[in-house]
């Protein structure tokens, strides 16, 4: 392990860098696969490169990376053509075509792999690494060839980023403004096949789709911009590549692919949980914030109706007026106290501060304005508007309030003939 971290071995350095590059390349190309909803196609291509690799080894009798790459690209592309042909020329749907092509090519690949192993060829030892990946077994020559290929792929993506984005979003429009869509699709497919063929060096055929798609899927959670999504996915791919190399050197008996996939899945899970706005945590926090706000405003409303008779109000009075939970009420009151809206006048007895009075009037005003709006403008009967107002009073913003006031021409009474409480400054905090 120490030799990995010190990076003293130039070979380790080179392989680690190379695998990081492969990860970035696959992740960036995978972003387009992802937004074009071609994840399954990516998986099929990954499986389809196996027979190509085996064939190239059988024909050339050696494991030169250029020949392996050539073989991989040929069968990868063939699988694409097959899928296209099946979906366009038969009644089979895309998923069936993908499944059929994937199993056909992968089955063929396994067959060839077995044949090679039984032939007892001296150099075959490395080939089965293509199934689950083995970063540490890459030679310098491998790293140079695959690294340069990835750089080429990245160059193409950066040059044509705008066109690819338009193509993925709206192909007909791209076609209509005269983009060479067929050529662009051909280029995009080719770099997908290339990055799959290089990526399997790290993760292997079986789990390659994860290196292609998972970074994009995770990145999508964090941003709504294709550019930022691509950058973020590249980052995830680099981390995955580094981790893969690390595992491969420190635990030589382990296949690299599954570890990389585990790490990527962890990143995806974290994204699902923590991403702003879309993430589960963010939504949960928002909901918690909503219910805190509702509780506080409901307490203020109870104060409003109770303070008509007396100033100091006991918790028992409140509980009688409205069915709060006892602990909820206590928590809500303490929070209102911290915000300076209520103060304790005696044990378990509270009264509104001046700002608290303004705030309580605001909530009641919103409630009554909304009731009035529903009954006057939307023609709902007066006894049907209360429940909607119970929810909306917490949501309406000062701008909406202003609109309501203008639309209703500063009304005096609500539909139940209660006065609508105004302040001099209607939009007090």
């Amino acid at each position: 392990m120490s030799s990995f971290f010190s990076f003293s071995d130039p070979n380790v350095q080179m392989v680690t860098l190379g695998v990081m590059l492969l990860g970035a390349g696959a992740a960036i190309v995978g972003c387009f696969t992802f937004v074009r909803k071609r994840a399954l196609v990516g998986d099929a291509i990954a499986h389809a490169v196996l027979p190509g690799i085996c064939l190239s080894f059988m024909i050339t009798g050696q494991k030169h990376p250029l020949w392996l790459l050539a073989g991989a690209v040929v069968t990868g592309w063939l699988s694409l053509l097959f899928m296209d042909y099946i979906t366009h020329r038969t009644k089979l749907k895309a998923d069936a075509a993908i499944g059929a092509v994937l199993s056909l090519f992968f089955g063929l690949g396994i067959l060839l792999l077995t044949a090679i192993q039984h032939s007892g060829s001296a150099q075959q030892a490395g080939l089965d690494k293509f199934l689950f990946g083995k970063a540490a077994s890459l030679t310098q020559q491998d790293v140079i060839v695959f690294g340069l290929t990835t750089l080429l792929v990245l160059l193409v993506v950066f040059t044509f980023f705008k066109s690819f984005k338009l193509l993925a979003f709206d192909r007909d429009f791209a076609h209509a403004i005269g983009l060479p869509v067929r050529l662009l699709e051909f280029v995009l497919s080719t770099i997908t096949v290339l990055s799959v063929a290089t990526g399997i060096q790290a993760v292997g055929v079986v789990l390659m789709a994860a290196l292609l798609i998972t970074p994009a899927a995770a990145a999508r959670f964090w941003t709504d911009s294709m550019q930022r999504m691509t950058g973020l996915a590249a980052g995830f791919g680099i981390v995955a590549g580094f981790f893969g190399a690390f595992v491969s050197y420190t635990a030589p008996s382990m296949p690299t692919g599954p570890w990389i996939v585990l790490l990527l899945s962890a990143i995806a899970v974290i994204s699902v949980l923590l991403a702003p706005r879309r993430g589960i945590l963010a939504r949960w926090l928002l909901q918690a914030e909503n219910s805190r706000k509702m509780l506080a405003e409901n307490i203020l409303k109870s104060f409003f109706s109770l303070s008509a008779k007396k100033e100091a109000i006991s918790e028992a009075d409140i509980l009688e007026a409205r069915p709060f939970s006892v602990t909820g009420l206590g928590r809500g009151l303490r929070r209102l106290q911290r915000r300076g809206l209520v103060q304790q006048s005696a044990p378990r007895t509270w009264q509104l501060t001046e700002t608290g009075q303004i705030e309580s009037r605001r909530v009641v005003r919103l409630h009554r304005l909304w009731e009035l709006y529903l009954s006057h403008k939307l023609g709902l009967p007066a006894d049907h508007v209360h429940n909607s107002a119970e929810a909306m009073e917490h949501l309406l913003t000062p701008e909406v309030e202003q609109h309501l006031l203008e639309e209703l021409e500063y009304p005096v009474l609500d539909p139940h003939d209660s006065a609508i409480p105004y302040d001099i400054k209607t939009d007090a905090p």
């Binding site: 709206d170 429009f173 076609h175 209509a176 403004i177 005269g178 911009s225």
Partner: protein, 263 residues
Amino acid sequence: MTPIIETHNLTVSYNRRPVLWDVDFSLPEGRLIGIIGPNGSGKTTLLKSIMGLVQPDSGYVKLFGQSLDEVRTRISYVPQRESVDWDFPVSVREVVEMGRYRRANLLRRLSSADRDIAADALHKVGLQDFAKRQISQLSGGQQQRVFIARALAQQADLYLMDEPFAGVDAASEQAILQLLTEMKAASKTVLIVHHDLQTVRQFFDWIVLLNTHLVASGPVESAFTEDHLRQAYGGQLTILSKVADLVKERHFPVREKPYKDRP
């Protein structure tokens, strides 16, 4: 005056089944033109073949008296709203700026003049405050207006719009109609696939009635007649659709020789 669009014996099929059959018409410049016909009558296909997105089996289309490739920058195409994935990671502004994409500027960033034109188009459809939003955070009517803004940004002379009024509320409909009227005043031609027969007289001054074959093409007053509507919407096409099925079943060519009767 040369017609702005001329289709000549246009025949188009999907999987060998003809969906447009010998469609032949010429459209004048500077009008709001409605393409009307029942579901599946080939309206979308007609727009797509005008834009070269589907290849005709026979016949040709001429635009401004020229071929499509010569006049491409003068034409703008607004696809049906459902044709794209609105969850795609792009903002409203980015979509409108796509209207400034040209073959020539694809490898560069957009110029600031281009970006101003896009911003202006967004303003025209009243969505300037939504520029930064991701496109799924818009209502259906707003999404439709984003597409129209993209078309406006193209600054074309001929606009082909596929159902811009579908799923749009009355307010958005008025806003879009207002834009169309302004475009007509600027002597642009707008071709619109439309579904609501009630509003045809109000919106258009020329219509093309379609049901696989051309039923009528002409000024609204003379073409939008009960008789033509019955032909387009009534069930009188049973023979035509039977023959279309036969063509598909027997793998029969729609023309004896596979020729393209280009001028």
